[in-house]
Amino acid sequence: MLITAFWSLNGFTGNVTHQLTGANFHQIASGSYPAIIGRTVLLAALVTVTDAIIAFPFAYVMARVATQRAQRLLLVAVLLPLWASYLAKIYAWISILERGGALNWTFQHLGLPSPNLGFTNGAMWLTFSYIWLPYMIVPLFGALERIPGSLLDASSDLGASSWWTFRHVIVPLALPGLVAGSIFTFSLTLGDYVTPLLVGGANSTLIGNAIYQNLLDGGNLPLAAALSTVPIAIMVAYLLVAKRFGAFESL
């Protein structure tokens, strides 16, 4: 695997240095690209935070509250959607969010105004949060499950309230899992172009779309490659920070 990874990356950098002038990066730093990059990073961060909030109580129940049997069932319940077809999940959200879709229909029947989320950045946020949620739950569950029960007992024996135990014992010990999950949610959002293309609207161009358009529609390989260095640089920086939190053990 290492050989393949390096072979492709080497070919890639070799190709870039071959044709790279400052002009490509200059182009990235001007025009619409900074806005696109900013939007992508913001969305990736938003999705990561959303997933962390949704996943934490769920993973906590899985790891510490549920019986063995319930735990196994919950794990299957998380893994089945994880392995369900990616396009199926996107398509599902298109049909839920579009004008005549299930969401508007439900809201209408409840007598509420239609949210009309279809083909907006909000739709993109929702779809991304949905698709990547299991990637957050699984490592978080792993980290929470590994916390020895004796530590929690010790904390309460020493007179800590459940909130104090949660805040000062559980959260710090779950942090590596949280960071590991965030690597997925962040990185996967960063490089995706399918969801914005299908679910997003006019203002939903992400870095992935810019790369895709330049390479496949515009045939501008050098610019696409130069654009690709942006997510790589962001992810390398992110991984270096993540390593500090001991996230790799939880991957």
């Binding site: 695997m1 994880l82 990616y86 398509y91 839920i96 490592p139 792993g142 399918v194 992935g208 991957l251």
Partner: protein
């Protein structure tokens, strides 16, 4: 005590809400695949299987399906070979530079799929290789290897090295040890890794877009149809079929290895 009970109830409520969030959308498309109407409108007025018939007889869908199966089979075989070799290598050389190795292994997993796609595409262009089924297979192999690797490494970590030493002490040759000790021990890990790799390849869009050229795999066909907004009732059917087809290898894999298969979530990360 009362507060505790309340907190517990709240947690379980949350769990049920998340489960509804996870399964609702998938159930929605399955239901819509039986809708007779051309356009999805609620409530559904009449039910039919006719879109299944239409999809079954669609020549484009058939060709895309066959290509997907071919590519997935080839990528799985290659990934089994290379992935298990990598696993043996890393498992044995675990003591030196382990941190670096782990970072190097994580990096390609954590990099977005589009990077792999662009890298492969530019490599192929640079080397003058025209895009064909072989470039799809190479592209898929790169991420399938990770799945096999993860599965085999997890199994090797759990098997004690003394078994191999015992085999050698009892006079078995290296190849005998491999054939009679190592292989049976990792067999289920290999099978489940292979099945997961197959499922992964069968569903892949992003890397495929950059390596497929003019050909359609099934996901590429779905992507195109959704993007153009054409044949949407058929898309419903095809997408439902893909979900069901993918479940089969996944369930078998899970049965074979239990939690081992999924102990690391990175299993599924490299694609999308």
């Amino acid at each position: 005590m009362k507060r505790r009970l309340l907190a517990r109830g709240g947690l379980w409520l949350w769990v049920w809400a998340v489960l509804a969030f996870l399964f609702g959308p998938i159930i929605t498309i399955v239901i819509f695949s039986f809708d007779r109407s051309n356009i999805e409108t609620l409530p559904i007025r009449s039910w039919t299987l006719s879109w299944y018939q239409v999809a079954w007889h669609d020549e484009q869908v058939r060709q895309a399906f066959v290509l997907s199966i071919k590519a997935a089979c080839a990528a799985t075989v290659l990934a089994l070979l290379l992935g298990s070799l990598a696993a043996f290598g890393v498992h044995r050389a675990r003591f030196f530079g382990r941190d670096t190795v782990s970072l190097l292994l994580v990096l390609p997993i954590a990099l977005p799929g589009i990077i792999t796609g662009v890298a492969l595409n530019s490599t192929f262009q640079w080397a003058g290789i025209s895009l064909s089924i072989w470039t799809i297979i190479i592209g898929h192999t790169t991420f399938c290897i990770v799945v096999v690797y993860n599965n085999v490494v997890a199994r090797l970590r759990r098997t004690s090295a003394t078994l191999f030493e015992a085999s050698a002490d009892l006079g078995a040759s290296t190849s005998q040890t491999f054939r009679f000790v190592t292989l049976p021990l990792i067999a289920t890990a290999l099978v489940s890794g292979g099945l997961l790799a197959f499922a992964l390849s069968f569903d892949e869009v992003i890397v495929t877009t950059f390596t497929a050229g003019a050909q359609n795999t099934l996901p590429i066909w779905i992507f195109g149809a959704i993007r153009l907004g054409q044949q949407l009732p058929e898309v419903n059917v095809v997408v439902t079929a893909v979900v069901v087809l993918m479940l089969i290898p996944i369930i078998i894999a899970a049965r074979l290895t239990g939690r081992d298969t999924f102990s690391s979530s990175s299993t599924r990360a490299p694609t999308n």
